[in-house]
Every structure is written in structure tokens, then in C-alpha cells.
């Protein structure tokens, strides 16, 4: 199989890219890391008339931590996030998600932005971003807007991003003291695998040994998009963290999950539900361990 024919564009700036996106509309596809796009084109799932390649735009490759905010340019590769000691220290769950994404060869091309925008429920980057309360900067010719990642995914493969918009940066606030997060993905093989399921949890404690004052639990592959588990979060807030509490949160997550198990999906609904619980409990324990140490 070969790739469909298209015109290739490599804008030098975000502004130029925005103009192209606005001009071509639905006929264009953005090439960030290409790891998804190339497959979709090869398999004839899409055949864009225009491919707009953005990994050459410097502005989209910033990776910085300043005044309590981690800014990740959309075209920062997953490999760069894996290698960043600062991210590993403060945003461990994000780092775990990045490490879990594909093989090292894929990570060298795949971008953080691409993993978010492609909006696949098995994606490794969105769960922890949601758990950390990240927001996304979307830009078009007329200006930019910031949306919470919680409101970004509208369905499998679809997002709140307009056809004339480009994701430029991801803003991840620094987690407060006495908080922690965890990410676990479950595949068939030891690593480099496509997920059967993934869960990320975040909790913030009211001081060392205190009650939970904030919690976010995100699960993937149990619905068309990554989803927050409000029931489990509510149940945690105001309580002292214990194993039993985490079990109850896991139970709540299990009840909230509505996976569509079919012969063709990677696992049955029953298994996925049980795993939502298991991974919720595990990630909460990870989050708690981290919160106690910080």
C-alpha cells in the first residue's frame, strides 16, 4: 500500500500554519509526529489533499517550567518528556504515560500534542494531563483561547478544537505540596503495547497525614473518550486516605465504567470493569505514596 497523493506544506511559523489550516479547512491534515497520520493514510482511512507539517516550527517545541507552570509545546516529542528529569520529579504520572507510549522509536517521533489531539481512548498522554488539571492553548488566525483538557474530548477522534485551530501549547500546573499522582496502563505485553485500559489518579492532601482535599481520577478505554470518575472523586474528598477508601473508590470507578466489550475490542467489558477498579486502587496508592513524600 502506498500513501495517497497530497500537497505538502511546511509552514515556518504558527501564524502561517494557522492561515493554512483556515484556508484548506477539512481538506488538510496536520502532520505533527506522523505516527498516527501515516498509518491512517496508508490504510486509506483518510486521504487529505494537503498535509501541513508542523514539527519544524520552533515555537511548538518549547518545553519549560516557569512560575509553577509546565509548558509543553505541541510538537515536543514524547521522548523528550520521558527524558526530562524535572517532569519526572514533579509530574511523575505524565512521565509514566510518556514512557508507556509505544516503543522508543515511536516516542522519538510522536508528539505530546499529537497524542492529545488524535483523541483516542487508548492514548497514554491525556489521562495524566487530565489528572493534573492541564489546559490547552488553541490558536487560530484571529487569536488564541485556552480550554481545560476536561472539556476537550468530544468523542473518539473528535475534540472541541475548531477546523481552523491548532493546538500550540499544553499548560500543566505544578501539583501543590502533599499531592501525588499515578498512571498505570495495561497492555498484553510487557511494554510498548497498545492499551487495554489506562487509569490516572491524582490526590492532594490537607497537609501531611491530612484528609484528601482534591482528587481527580481519569480512565481510558471504557468509553469513547477518556472520562473523569466524579463519583469516585467525590467519595474521596474529605476522607482520610486508607486502603479501604481506595477500594471503595475503585468500586465506584468500576460502577461508573461503561466499556463496550465486543469480540473485536481488546478485552471484554467484564474484564475492563474489573481492571478499572484494580488500576484505580493501584494508581491511588501510587498517588498517596507520592503525596506523603512531598
Amino acid at each position: 500500500m502506498s500513501l495517497p497523493e497530497f500537497d505538502f506544506h511546511a509552514p515556518g511559523t504558527v501564524e502561517e500554519a494557522c492561515r493554512m489550516v483556515a484556508g484548506f479547512g477539512a481538506k488538510a491534515k496536520i502532520f505533527a509526529g506522523g505516527t498516527d497520520l501515516m498509518l491512517d493514510m496508508r490504510r486509506n482511512r483518510i486521504s487529505p489533499e494537503h498535509v501541513i507539517s508542523i514539527p519544524g516550527i520552533e515555537e511548538l517545541k518549547t518545553l519549560e517550567i516557569a512560575s509553577g507552570m509546565l509548558t509543553i509545546g505541541a510538537c515536543v516529542t514524547v521522548a523528550r518528556v520521558v527524558k526530562s528529569k524535572e517532569i519526572a520529579a514533579k509530574w511523575g504520572a505524565l512521565c509514566a504515560g510518556a514512557k508507556a507510549l509505544g516503543s522508543c522509536l515511536v516516542r522519538n517521533l510522536a508528539t505530546i500534542g499529537g497524542n492529545v489531539v488524535s483523541a483516542r481512548p487508548a492514548a497514554d498522554i491525556p489521562p495524566s494531563l487530565m489528572a493534573y488539571g492541564a489546559s490547552l492553548v488553541l490558536k487560530k488566525t484571529s487569536g488564541e483561547r485556552v480550554v481545560s483538557i476536561n472539556d476537550f474530548f468530544t468523542g473518539t477522534g473528535s475534540t472541541a478544537m475548531g477546523p481552523d485551530e491548532i493546538l500550540t501549547r499544553i499548560l500543566v500546573p505544578e501539583p501543590p505540596p502533599h499531592s501525588g499522582a499515578g498512571y498505570v496502563n495495561l497492555g498484553i505485553r510487557n511494554a510498548c503495547d497498545i492499551n487495554i485500559l489506562n487509569v490516572s489518579s491524582y490526590i492532594a492532601l490537607d497537609g501531611p497525614g491530612g484528609a484528601i482535599k482534591d482528587a481527580r481520577i481519569v480512565m481510558g478505554c471504557v468509553a469513547p473518550t477518556h472520562v473523569r470518575v466524579n463519583s469516585a472523586e467525590k467519595l474521596l474528598i474529605g476522607e482520610k486516605p486508607t486502603d479501604a477508601l481506595f477500594q471503595r473508590a475503585g468500586e465506584a470507578a468500576l460502577n461508573a465504567a461503561t466499556p463496550r466489550g465486543s469480540a473485536y475490542s481488546r478485552a471484554s467489558a467484564e474484564y475492563k470493569k474489573d481492571m478499572v477498579k484494580e488500576l484505580t486502587v493501584r494508581t491511588l496508592a501510587m498517588a498517596y505514596r507520592e503525596a506523603m513524600g512531598r
Binding site: 500500500m1 502506498s2 516503543s103 495495561l186 498484553i188 505485553r189 511494554a191 497498545i194 487495554i196 474489573d274
Partner: protein, 809 residues
Amino acid sequence: MGEISMGKFDVINSRAVRVDASDKVRGRALYVDDMKMAGMLYGALLQSPLAHAEILNIDTTAAQRLPGVKSIITHKDAGLVKFGVSPARYDETIFCHDKVRHVGDNIAAVAATDLDTALRAVSLIKVDYRELPAVFTVEEAMAEGAPVLHAAFPRNITAEVQDEFGDVEAAFKQCDLIKTTSLVNKRQDAAFIEPQGCIASYDFSGNLTLYSSTQSPHYIQRVVSMVLGIPMGKVRVVKPYVGGGFGPKAATNHMELAACLLSMKTGKPVKMNFDRQQVFMHGRSRHQFFHHMTTGVKKDGTIMALKHDCYLNGGAYASFGIATVYYAGSLLGGPYKLPAMKYHGYRVYTNLPACGAQRGHGGVIARGCWEQQLDMIAQELGIDPIEMRLRNMMSAGDVTCNYLDMSSLGMKECVEAVRDRSGWKEKKGNLPPGKGIGMSCGFFVSGAGYPIYRSDTFHGTVIIKLTEDGGTALVYTASAEIGQGSDTTFAMIAAEAMGIPLECVRLESGDTDFGVDLGAYSSRQTLMTGLATKEAGEDIKRQVLEVLSEELHVPVEDMDIKKGFIVFKGEKPDITALRTRYIKEHRGWSDNPAMDEELSFREASRMAFLSRGSIVGKGKYKPPILGGQHKGAAVGTSPAYGCSAQVVELSVDEGTGKINIEKMTDAHDCGLAINRTSVEGQMYGSLSMGLGEALFEEVKFDDKGRVINDDLAEYKITRALDMPAIEPIIVESNEPNGPFGAKEVGEGAIMPAIPAILNAVADAIGVRIFELPLKPERVYMAIKEYKMKKEKEKGIEGKTLAGSSQKQA
């Protein structure tokens, strides 16, 4: 046994560097898609999108009109000569004419100036279909009134095998324990990293050369000749380097035939390649097997009888399937003493890509089923599973109930080695919950008694020619180096047989012009091509010594060649005249021997050339008549059998069902190891494939018969991160029927992997699983069910006691 043979040989039984490694690490080794020819066209196939449909019309007009298109062929051009693997089941044609039988079935091919044009032309061919009901499972295919794929095969049965050796029912009557279990696997893909590809080049003298990524140039040559009606002498099949085969590349594919025909039509070389999706659509890898076995034993663990039923989901064509269904039964004849065995096997057509042969042909899942069952029996009898296996073990000289002759068998040594090296005795029964240890034995042929077509032909012929300067021996064999290291093996055998260093041997292989060789399948080459090579080498040595004898007046028996020099057993003759003559011949050369040096092979063979012209040594091999007169006796009988044993240690994450294999200790009896590094390479590779099959691999289909996971992301083979530590142990029996005592390792080594894992998982979680692969979900569900069952049992007990108090509450 062990390493006692070390030191007896000068070249073999060592750790040699592969003859092809230097090119391969540089990216210099040429695979078929690396080749390019002047004026070469590119071909593409039109393959069916439907699983079962009548072809009403094929319209190529639009495609014909596309600029750059040079030829379009359909059944009208290709004819309807049937081919396949086994002549008894030739059921394929190059292109379908009346109907398609699976998604990916072949309808037409295009040759064009470039690949994009060829692909575009393929998309412009219009085919009208009438969809037919399709069958995808064994049950559907064998059901009363089910649609039939091939009219000649009612109920879609490709082949049915019924065998009984000894009296199974009578034996069962003497048994203390009779156990019945089953095992089902999923269809596999061999997942070689190089997809099939070929270049066909037809010249204007009527000669056809086909370069192909194949395991058997000879079989391809025969089929091409037969189907296209060209004399075999005008068909040359050449195998460049091949990026792995593992079975599916052992049979002719439609692309090879289409490329030949396109080249004949256009008078230009035509290149064609499968992409990864087409590799899956072509299939021909391991079948899905449904095994059902009943074994009877005595209290002390003595195995008395095995009753075995098996159904194979075979896909749309027979391919290797007849052999597969026979092997699935016959390979259980060893390595245990088994007085009675009854087998009933069905190989069934379905509307899926055809299955064929894959590493461990036919025997892998059968072995998995039986070795798990033997473990369960041992457990029930309270006998250590290794102890039970040792009690039943055959040894060299034994013949199985189905006439397999154990001419050598280091099985006991293998079992003891893995037992001792793995620390089995300390570990078995003493591991914490979630950790498990398991073992299994394995057993496989070293080639079959007959070619896949019945014939008295030689299975391998080898020619060695000395270069006129005497310094180099050119070995010509049509055998197939596909990665396993056979070129190096035969170069080593040739060197050893001639008595010269490996560096003096240059080997060319994989070309039907070099002779007959059935190719790389059935683990046959080391033994069969090896024997032919050895014979050719000895022939050379004899001829050189004969000339020397004439020159020096020393009887041939009193001389030998070793490490490239002539050895005189008695008194050293005067070689001055001979050497002077040699040096005169090489005036100006800087490497002429000094007068006091030993007489070299180079000098001797130069003399031989001067006296006789080309010195050519010939070797050939065909197996003797092997045991068994029953139908199908040819599938399973072999000149020699390799065997293996394995211990697997693993842990199971009970929360998710995920298995982590921690260590494999593996012993294999390959007879004398020609190249130890390669033997270990085959062991590692087999284990990694077995691990993948046990834990991850399955080809999945949707309800239209399309492969869902036709890529190497969703078809999951073992990656570097999944491999455990492996301790390989080479056990060397001395195989009387093999070259220098050698026999197989390439396939037998995969045999114990799956059952050893099954047994270790059961040891870890306390419950048996009878379906593969052992993906986390399957393991987790098994644990969950087991726990629920146990709780229920407890609950019932609990209720009777606590019933009244509950009422009060």
C-alpha cells in the same frame, strides 16, 4: 554425551562466526526487494474483499487504459492448472475463475512501469460478485447443509485421519487413572520480518529465472514448471538472502506465479512484493487446533494409552494441511513409551486465508495439550512431574507404537539437565503464591522420509568443485539459508569432510541450478543436506589423495588431510619434486611454501587439477525406507528425532492476570552440534516464538472473514522487553543417521515452550487453563472463576452452620 566429543573435530562442533554475518551487519546482504534490474516492471495483485463469492464478471478495460500499465492477467491468461503443496490436494489456481474462497483470494495481477501505477490499475479493475454464505469455524464448516468450498470435499473436510496403534480400549481397562482434557490455540502468523517478494525474469530464449524470498527453491521450481508449462530445465529459482520463513515460505505463492506470467507476457523483469497486510491475507502459518485427549495411566505413572481427537481450522485451501493433521497425531508417539495410541483428526476448510506449516509443524499445540495433561496426571497421582516423565522415557533404540525409530535420544539427559540447572527440586512446591514453575518435554523430526510430492528423488545433492589454483573449495547446494545458519553449517561440514579450514570454503546456495534440495522445512537440512555435503567433501578428499598417491607412491589409506595439510600416517615421502613443480607454476607469487613446510592441501589439489582437470566431488542423500506401512506413515517417520526439555519460572500478577516469564532453562538434544552458536540461536528463537504463541499471538477476524489485526502492532510478537533470561543447554547424543552425529534443532526447540508455560501458570495460580493465548484477561478470568468457585464451596459449608443466626439478624 555432553561435551566429550569436543576436540575430535577441527572445524565443526565449535563456535563459528556465520559466513554471512559480515555482509548482514553492514546492510550489504541482498534480499529480493534490494534487487533491481534494467527495465524492471512492478506488479500488484487484485485480491478479493469478500470471503466467499461467485465471480460474475471481471472488467479490466479501465485499468488497461491507464498509462504505464503493461499487462493485466486473470484466469483467462493464467489457465486453470491446479497446484498446491501435496499433489493429493492440489486445490489452487493462480487466479480464481468461478469463485473466491477467502478475503485475499487472488483474482488478477497488473504489471506497470511503477508500483503506484500498478496499484492504481488494480483499483480500476471492476469485479462483479455474488456473495455466498461463508463458513468461518469448524462447526459452521462441518454442519449439515453448510456451504461447501471445494465441490470435491463434502462437509469441507480436507483430510480425515484415523489411526490406531496397539489396542487403546484394552489398555484403558488396565489403567488406574484415565484423564481427559483439551486445548485450543488461535491461528498464528509466522511474522517473519521480511514480507514475501519476488522478481521474475523471462528471457527471449525461453528461460525463466525467479528470484524469491522462499524456503524451498526446488518446490517453487516444480510448481512454476508444472503450472506454467515450462520444462523444469528452463526454470531457475534463485533465493537471495531471506528475512525469515518459519514455514509459510516453503510453498509456492500466487504472487510468484503471477510475476512469472507477467514477465513472460511483457518480456521484462517483474518485481512483486506483499505488504504486511497481504502477508496476513496470504496466511499459511500455524492452524487453529482443537485437541481433545484421553490418557490412561497406572498408579505408578506408567502411561498406557492415549486417545486423541483433533480438529483443524484450515482456511480456504489445503496448503500443508494434510501433513499438518497427520503430524498433529503422529508426533505424540515420542518421547514417552506409549504402547497404544488412537488418533482421529480432521482438517477442515473454512472461508479464511489458508493455514499451513509453521515451526514445529502440527505438533506444537498437541504437545501443549498432552504435556499439560501429563502434569495434571502426575499431580493427581502425587508424583513429581519430572519424575513421572523420567519413568516413561524412551531411550535410544526404542521404537514407538507408530514406528518412529529412536536411533538416538538424549531425552533423559535433557530432562535431568533442566531439572538440575533450574533448581527444580528446591523450587517445585516451595514457591510463594503467584509464582510458578513448570516443565515439559519436546520431540520433533529431522526431516521426512519423502518429499511433499511422493517420489524417489534425492532430497539433497551437493557438488563441490576445487578452484584450479587448489586453494578454494566451492560448495554448491540448492538448500535454503533463511536465517537459521545453514550456509555456515554446510561450509563447516564441507571443510571438516575435506580436512581444510573453513576460510578455504566458499559456499553458494539457494539456486536450483546447483542441484536438488527440498529446502528449509521439516528441520531437514542439517541432517539431509549435511550428509550430502559430507559425502561430496569426502569424494573430494579421496580424489585429491588418489592423485597424490600416484605422484608420491604412497597408498591412499596411508594419507589424510587435516587442517589444510596432508598427513602421512607412515613415513613421510620426499615431496621435493612435487613442491618444486608447484613453485614453478607460481613464479612471482609471494606466498609459495618453503621447502621444509608440510605439504599443503592447496599444493595437492593443484596437482590433482593438473592431472585430472576439474576436481568435482558429488554428494547426495535420500532417507532409507522408514518404518510403518499404514496410510500417512510418511508423516512422522524420520531418519532421526531431536528432543528437548524445558523448565519455565514465572510470576502472575493476580490483580490483572498478567504473566511475567522470569526464566527458561532449556535443553535440546541436537545430536552433535555443528555450530554451537547457531544451535543456541535456534533455541533462543524457538523459545521467543513459543513464548509469543503462549502469551500474546492470535490472528483475529471480523464476521466478514477479514483479519482485524493485520499489522505488527496488534499482532503481538515477543519484543526485547518480554524475553526472560534463558539458560541454554546443548545435549549431544550421537545420531548414527546424521552427518558426524548431527540432527535437528530448528523446530523441536519450540515444542516444550507452550506446555512448560501452561504448567508453570497452573503452578502459580492453582488453576488450569485450556485455551491460548494466556493473555491477561484469560488468566484473570480463570483466577476469578476459581476464587468464586472456592468461595461458593466455602459458602455452602458456611451456610449450613450459620443459617440460623442469619435468620435472627
